[in-house]
Symmetry: C2
Subunit: 325 residues, 2 copies
Amino acid sequence: MKLFIKDLAKDLLNGNTVALARAITLCESKKATDQKTASRLLQKIVPYSGKSIRIGITGSPGVGKSTFIEAFGKHLTSLGKKIAVLAIDPSSTKTRGSILGDRTRMEELSKDKLAFIRPTATGNSLGGVADKTRETILLCEAAGYEIIIVETVGVGQSETAVRNMVDFFLLLQLPGGGDELQGIKKGIMEMADGIVITKADGENEKRARQAQTEFQHALHLFQRSESGWQPVVLTTSALEKKGTKEVWAMIEKFYAHTIENGFYEKNRDEQNLKWFYESMDVLLKKKIFQSKKISSLIKSLEMKIRMGEIMPLQAAQKMVASIKK
Amino acid sequence: MKLFIKDLAKDLLNGNTVALARAITLCESKKATDQKTASRLLQKIVPYSGKSIRIGITGSPGVGKSTFIEAFGKHLTSLGKKIAVLAIDPSSTKTRGSILGDRTRMEELSKDKLAFIRPTATGNSLGGVADKTRETILLCEAAGYEIIIVETVGVGQSETAVRNMVDFFLLLQLPGGGDELQGIKKGIMEMADGIVITKADGENEKRARQAQTEFQHALHLFQRSESGWQPVVLTTSALEKKGTKEVWAMIEKFYAHTIENGFYEKNRDEQNLKWFYESMDVLLKKKIFQSKKISSLIKSLEMKIRMGEIMPLQAAQKMVASIKK
């Protein structure tokens, strides 16, 4: 086992993608033995992680996320950068089917030797999503990837989860969009370090420029974020192959700015603390439901709730009171 | 204190809206003494609660939610029904400002003596939102409201939270909508017991009928829900005052159907259990962070994380291991 971990770590640190894929699968496994192995592996590689720019990308379906990431990624690899693209895919609650599932996405980029693409279909637990994606980021960094792109489909709380694990958060928007869409995106706009208006070509170009002005104006209304960075709005066109260079220039500027004022490190520290708290949460629950005494108390309380003998909130109070400090 | 609770409960059970508003404010208060009072009050009124149809309504900003609820509500009060409208308003993460805040909404309905409208601006905790809204539902029911409408603005996980506390979940959609919007709404469509295409008038009418067919078709692709109910798609026009009658007829049919096959009661039982689990979660965390020993351990682990001496996940494992079973 020790030998297996040592070999896997060595291959991974050498940038072997088979080893990387295997390590990620190990982290994602729900088997207890795999979890232990993954934990040891992570301990080994963690000193070699952290040295990347982590970029989160979000936007509604239809905004052209895959097309943008493909073009952006190709630009980065043309500069000789090694990039990893991780797609968070919160499955639909009911059927647990994958939203991205059967689409063919980023065909060109997936053939690029400098690029590593990994879609991760996940279950319900968002804490869980965050954990595994964070670990995957560390693994990719240890394997030498310099830019990590974490993509989210913008369902549920996945945007907040991704925002909490990246350095730069990019929001993609269609030209126009209309006032009715601004409301729902307000919380997300506030998280963004940059906004990109996609499909800014042909007839759309004028509307894209209008949208750019509107968004830039709206962003000025928000409190400036702790990073001291004023979010930038850019336009791109996949059709006319325009704008990706400027997006990368913006991110490099952000990086230099936040390294200089210390926000970059501070932010990563805080993200680690959040990870700590989220993990505690998941592990605590696991532990509680393992105790026989507690789970039998919970069962009897459930029965009483069903019979209408106790209100759910009171039942919860009783259960919590029964746990020793 | 006892006298105060007794009087408040009595007034509330008599349908006094001042008492109802006061009771809700008490439940929403974060003061420990208020919480105790609220808990006792809830115990008193809970036997008189539960006898309503609980309807959740969601839809993107701009879909005409307020207009629909106003028209729908007026139809219900014209039938002599007492209705309560509770609006969940998850504030934007950063500024904590209210999205609905300064809009004038449902002017007519708010003057109606048979209607009770209560917007609830909430903080970050979704568990908390759910708790308070659930308690508010019980209070409204005890005050004699026969139909409870819980409105959500569709930000973050509020839809799932609302779905877990209502009998019937209604999704509002604009005519057209376009393929690009279907992806993001898939999870929500799966939760819906009914879809209403709003603004189906004038030039929109044809598109609304098209959308109706498309949605009905899409819904057929989903697994039928546990309720055995096949979701229905209807169109409404606030302008031409059409369709609200049909929406109510659909909900009455759903009610009769689920009462008959036992789903109605089963669903409420399960919702109570969820409430129980969510409350446990919130209370457990509170308790853990109150213990001095644990909070000092957490502080030292935080320090080690900052120094890069321990990975957040390992730190969480250590902390959880330190808690007695």
